[in-house]
């Protein structure tokens, strides 16, 4: 069984934002991922950190990307859309399970 990669807190948030933004019509790309994070994370998010994390997750094989058709609105440039890979889903599930186990019995603090 392949080893599940460990995820940092921000990486988890970005992966979840990719999954959420991917459900929309526009797909998950820089703008929608940032919007999803800003709307749901409840904290200030750096645009640059989002792009750097997306790039790092792709290099780790946790995200795959594809390009759309260039449009005039984007100055003749294409969108780079992301989707989560199987290892990413496995890593997210593992993180969630670990957190749930750690929270077990501490619900009163919630």
């Amino acid at each position: 069984m392949p080893e599940v990669p460990a995820l940092g807190e921000f990486e988890q948030m970005v992966l979840l934002a990719v999954l959420r933004a991917g459900q929309g019509d526009a797909g998950a790309y820089g703008v929608t991922v940032f919007d999803a994070l800003a709307a749901r994370s409840g904290r200030r998010v750096s645009r640059g950190a989002v792009y750097m994390t997306l790039d790092r997750l792709e290099q780790k094989g946790l995200l795959a990307s594809y390009q759309t058709t260039p449009t005039a609105e984007r100055g003749g440039r294409a969108r780079r859309c992301y989707r989560a890979t199987r290892p990413a889903l496995a890593a997210l599930r593992a993180s969630r399970r670990a957190l749930v186990r750690l929270w077990d019995g501490l619900e009163a603090l919630d």
Binding site: G48, R74, R77
Partner: protein, 868 residues
């Protein structure tokens, strides 16, 4: 460019998608506010760049540590960072001082690089020459003029071994919904001379021989990207154009193309063909700018002589040019290397400004050195402890250098970021006669300069703190407490204070002189009314008649709120001499330049030129072209010294004109140039009258009606083209834009220098005062009064400042000598400017010394003696 930097940091693929995302959001935000969207875009890109740079730096550091290299270096970075976090005030002050100076230095370098350093972006640019014509009697005006089509044709004929090209700056072309772009007309061979080829399409030969109902046009790459999103289907599309004449896009220019008279923000984006005229040999009415590619083998002097002979021949064949006095005849032709032609006027001022920027960075370095040395002094106990624990002297110095390097890097980053935000404003302030040979942007060259300047700062500021750290043995600091810490200002600190004061005073003097000179320019009387008048700079698409002009004037007069409208063939406030078509009286030696202006009805009402003798031209005379003229006081004095001018006769093309009045002198060349002599006659007397300057006086605020005037002219009188319509105050301001830019720049430098010096002196004084707490407490316990303590400390602190003021005065005199040629009616030793500069600098020094001294004098002796 930031985009290129981003590509370097994150790779081309990711950079493209990030830039696309930003562009997408910018275009959405632009629907609410264009300016806001542009600002947001810059901030967002800057934030991403900083984040990307930080990420890459961390990765590099990780890889270095992973490889087992320079572990000690990384530890020093961490240690220095921890040290700085314990002294946030010092970090903020140092970073702030460096950020101010580096912002200005980066801004200045970005402009200087484009104006002076960047090579011309044309292949074998050394072969290119600007061909300029003028008069031997007024050599300073050679180059300020356009030449006639006849001269251009004659030059092409006598120099077939040289490739010539002509062009002219046109009006504004509408290429987008509600958006206008600057246009230019280019002649056949223009792109070939510059060795540029469109990346898409191009002009066909017939475009230069036959006038087309829909004008073909080339669009610059930047306009294509910015306004049309790089849409390749633009080629072939028809756009609104100007004055009811549409344009068809026939090609796209390459990204590297730069228009050869790239006049600051007036960069042409739409190029239309300059159609050859069938009777080109007699094409006297057209004003052209000419460039040539002179092959290396052609003798330049011989080439100039051939052109001069051809121009002399044109002057012989067409000696009189009643309709276009400024088109010649010329007797001086020069082939000026293109590099010189574009840059000569800018070399001295920009060199001085660059030197000032370097001096400001030096001032900041001196300042930071003083603060860093004081901090090193205060940290002697900590440093002694480190040494006792086994750290070597080299390691301690490295720690201080790394600490400074972190602050300088932060200052440089803030400087580059702030400069990128301020650069568009600086570009808008650049005088239009300054040729900028690259888009003004924070590109790799500018970033490299910032890095080099920051590295120089690290080098300069490292020396003194290191000396302080290693001076003497550190061990006694641990054994004897802080008693070894010097409490008086030593020689080194006095030198630092003197240097700061000297540099600040010199720059303040420079700023005060330029600002004072600028203020004097604006005190000059133009001689005509300015307040509620609009100036419209016009040209015509083809030959015009008096009926066309009269009809246009009537249209404009019917616009609501218009009090009067009149016009002339003068090139108002363009610094352009056009000449005089009237013969000077025989036997009179005229020393002033005299200009003759054809004027229309309404000219008197809009300009308010009240006659001082005789009368103005009547409505009937102005509409029928009667042979009557009005002269200015200067002409009256020079033509008929000591005698009345009214009743005299002047000859124009062998036709006698009666002088019926004398009016005051007026400044038509520029606000900062003395008035020339002027002769006014009815414009309708010309067979082909041309209207160039239209004056419209309003009962209300003129800026509200600019659109009404432009719309009325372009829709009802398509034969005319509006080049620019603006309040007359703006035209006046444009004529001295160079002075405004200089004054603003020097003022900013002066203020920044005084601020930096003030902050440095305040910091030093505060450090010294805090060290003397125990001494002050003892003095007060022995009966000293707070006033006496404050006076003592101020006196001791100012000891270093007097030498600085003396050196600063000498530096100021040297700087005043350098900027002397930019001053208007202002002496280099203007007492007002020098006094103001001295007052501000001394006030700043006194404030810097006074605040810590007052704080020290309020010390409670009991508490002070308990300290340490």
């Amino acid at each position: 460019m930031p985009a290129r930097l981003l590509i370097r940091l994150v790779g081309a693929d990711l950079a493209e998608s990030i830039l696309g995302d930003l562009e997408e959001q910018r275009s959405r935000r632009a629907q609410r506010s264009r300016a806001g969207a542009a600002l947001w875009w810059r901030w967002a890109l800057l934030a991403i760049l900083i984040q990307a740079a930080w990420t890459r730096l961390r990765e590099q550091a990780r890889s270095i540590r992973g490889g087992g290299l320079a572990t000690g270096g990384w530890l020093e970075v961490k240690s220095a960072w921890r040290g700085l976090r314990r002294a946030p005030g010092y970090g903020v002050a140092t970073t702030g001082v460096l950020a101010i100076s580096l912002t200005l230095a980066v801004l200045v370098f970005a402009v200087v690089d484009g104006v002076l350093l960047k090579p011309l972006p044309y292949p074998r640019s050394g072969e290119l020459a600007a061909i300029q014509a003028g008069w031997t009697s007024r050599p300073s005006f050679a180059g300020a003029l356009t030449v006639s089509g006849s001269d251009f044709v004659a030059w092409r004929t006598v120099a077939p071994d040289v490739r010539f090209a002509a062009f002219s700056l046109g009006g504004a072309e509408q290429i987008d919904e509600g958006d206008r772009a600057i246009g230019a007309d280019i002649g056949a061979g223009f792109l070939e001379v510059l060795e540029q080829r469109p990346i898409l399409g191009g002009f066909a030969p017939e475009h230069f021989t036959t006038s087309q109902s829909i004008q073909p046009a080339l669009i610059t790459y930047a306009a294509w990207q910015r306004r049309f999103g790089g849409d390749p289907s633009l080629v072939g599309r028809v756009l609104p154009g100007d004055s009811g004449r549409a344009i068809r896009v026939v090609g796209i220019l390459p990204p590297s193309f730069l228009f050869p008279t790239s006049l600051g923000r007036f960069v042409p984006e739409v190029l239309t063909p300059l159609v050859e005229r069938p009777n080109a040999a007699d094409d006297r009415g057209r004003g052209l700018l000419v460039i040539a590619r002179v092959p290396a083998g052609v003798d330049r002097r011989g080439f100039e002589a051939r052109l001069q002979a051809a121009t002399a021949d044109v002057a012989r064949r067409f000696p009189k040019r009643p309709n276009q006095p400024g088109a010649g005849p010329f007797d001086l032709v020069r082939a000026i290397p293109f590099d010189t032609a574009l840059r000569s006027s800018a070399r001295l001022p920009f060199s001085i400004v660059f030197a000032l920027a370097a001096a400001l960075v030096l001032l900041a370095c001196v300042n930071v050195t003083g603060l860093a040395a004081a901090r090193a002094q205060d940290r002697r106990r900590e440093l002694a402890l480190r040494r006792a624990l086994g750290a070597g002297g080299g390691q301690l110095i490295r720690l201080l250098v790394v600490e400074n390097a972190i602050l300088i890097a932060a200052g440089a980053s803030v400087g580059v970021g702030a400069a990128s935000l301020l650069l568009p404003f600086v570009a808008a302030l650049l005088p239009p006669d300054i040729a900028v040979l690259k888009p003004l942007a924070i590109d790799m060259r500018v970033v490299a300069f910032a890095v080099a300047a920051a590295a120089a700062c690290v080098g300069v500021t490292a020396f003194w703190p290191a000396r302080v750290t290693l001076a003497g043995e550190l061990r006694p600091v641990l054994t004897d407490g802080a008693s070894t810490t010097p409490r008086r200002m030593g020689l080194g600190r006095r030198v630092l204070v003197s240097l700061q004061v000297a540099l600040a005073l010199a720059m303040a003097i420079g700023g005060a002189l330029l600002v004072g000179s600028w203020a004097r320019v604006w005190q000059q009387n133009t001689g005509y009314e300015v307040g509620s008048t609009v100036h419209v700079w016009m040209n015509a698409r083809s030959a015009t008649t008096w009926t066309d002009i009269d009809s246009l004037l009537n249209t404009v007069r019917n616009i609501p709120g218009v009090r009067a409208a009149g016009g002339s063939d003068m090139w108002l406030l363009q610094r352009a001499v056009r000449g005089n078509t009237f013969a000077e009286p025989a036997g009179v030696k005229v020393t002033s330049n005299v200009e003759s202006f054809g004027v229309t009805t309404g000219f008197l009402e809009t300009t308010g030129l009240a006659p001082v003798e005789g009368r103005w031209l009547t409505h009937a005379e102005l509409t029928t072209g009667a042979p009557v003229a009005v002269v200015s006081q200067r002409v009256a004095r020079e033509f008929w010294p000591g005698q009345p001018a009214v009743g005299r006769v002047l000859l124009r093309e062998a036709r006698p004109y009666d002088v019926v009045g004398v009016v005051p002198d007026a400044r038509y060349l520029s606000l900062d140039l003395e008035p020339d002599g002027a002769i006014y006659f009815p414009l309708s007397a010309n067979q082909q009258p041309s209207l160039i300057s239209l004056f419209v006086a309003f009962d209300r605020r003129p800026s509200d009606a600019l659109k009404d005037i432009t719309t009325a002219i372009t829709t009802q009188h398509p034969v005319f083209r509006v080049r620019r319509a603006q309040p007359l105050t703006s035209t006046l301001a444009d004529s001295v834009k160079g002075r405004t830019f200089q004054a603003l720049l020097f003022a900013v430098f002066g203020v920044a220098a005084v601020t930096i010096a003030g902050a440095g002196i305040l910091g030093l004084a505060a450090t010294l005062a805090s060290r003397r707490t125990r001494e002050v407490g003892l003095r007060m316990a022995l009966g000293a009064r707070p006033g006496g303590i404050a006076r003592l400390m101020i006196r001791q602190h100012l000891a270093g400042a007097w030498a600085g003021i003396a050196i600063g005065a000498m530096l100021g005199a040297w700087l005043a000598h350098g900027v002397g040629s930019f001053l208007y009616s202002t002496s280099r030793f203007d007492p007002l400017a020098w006094g103001a500069a001295l007052l501000v600098v001394m006030g700043t020094i006194a404030f810097g010394a006074l605040v810590p001294a007052l704080c020290a004098s309020r010390v409670d002796p009991v508490r002070a003696l308990r300290v340490e």
